[in-house]
Amino acid sequence: MADIYRALADETRRALLDELLQRDRQTLFELCSKLAMHHDLTPSRQAVAQHLDVLEAAGLVHSERSGRYRFHTIDTSPLVGILDRWPPRKAEQ
């Protein structure tokens, strides 16, 4: 849980979560293409793999080996901890 803030503190990792929210089970190749096409982000594949590792360590992404391929899927459940800690409250003006 401690890693979640660091995981979210990076533009590329937030973009990866945006793309994974669109569809489960995406390969590293597909995610790299989408970072380039949709976000104008062109890190190396190695760098994207490392970003996915950080997201996975924070529990925000699950990677699953399926036959000969590896797919990545989003898991937003760790985000609930943030709202539990700071539930929505609007300042009274």
Binding site: Q26, T27, L28, F29, E30, S33, K34, M37, R45, A49, R65, G67, R68, Y69, R70, F71
Partner: protein
């Protein structure tokens, strides 16, 4: 100069031949027995003078780790141009072909990625004008 033959490394030449001809629609261009393996190439039947694709056995020890690493990360070995990716996706899925990426708009192209059953991923691409 002309790009005459490109090679793709396959787990099994006979299974590769079945997939590339019966599923994808290529025809055999050369099939020459060479001891344990064959010199085996396929070609687009509409372009008999086009580039041949050699279905190359994984004889070299580096080829297995190479293709395994590409397929694990979803990286296609080559790109096949098609008129309609969505139609090919529907047709090939009905034939039991596995896709690692369904048709996806990527700027000037629509792409999809499929498994050739012999150790490689192939990208289908359709230009959108």
């Amino acid at each position: 100069m002309k790009l005459d033959v490109v090679s793709i490394f396959v787990d099994d030449q006979q299974r590769a031949l079945d997939f590339y001809t019966r599923r994808l629609g290529f025809t055999v261009s050369a099939d020459v027995p060479l001891g344990e393996h064959r010199w085996l190439t396929v070609i687009d039947p509409d372009r008999p003078d086009g580039t041949q694709l050699s279905l190359e056995p994984k004889g070299h020890p580096a080829t297995g780790p190479f293709t395994d690493a590409l397929i694990a990360d979803g990286i296609p070995f080559c790109v096949l141009g098609v008129a309609d990716v969505e139609a090919e996706y529907t047709r090939l899925t009905a034939l039991g072909v596995t896709f690692t990426q369904p048709p996806t708009a990527m700027g000037p192209v629509v792409v999809a990625v499929l498994d050739d059953t012999v150790g490689n991923l192939l990208q289908l691409a359709q230009r959108v004008d």
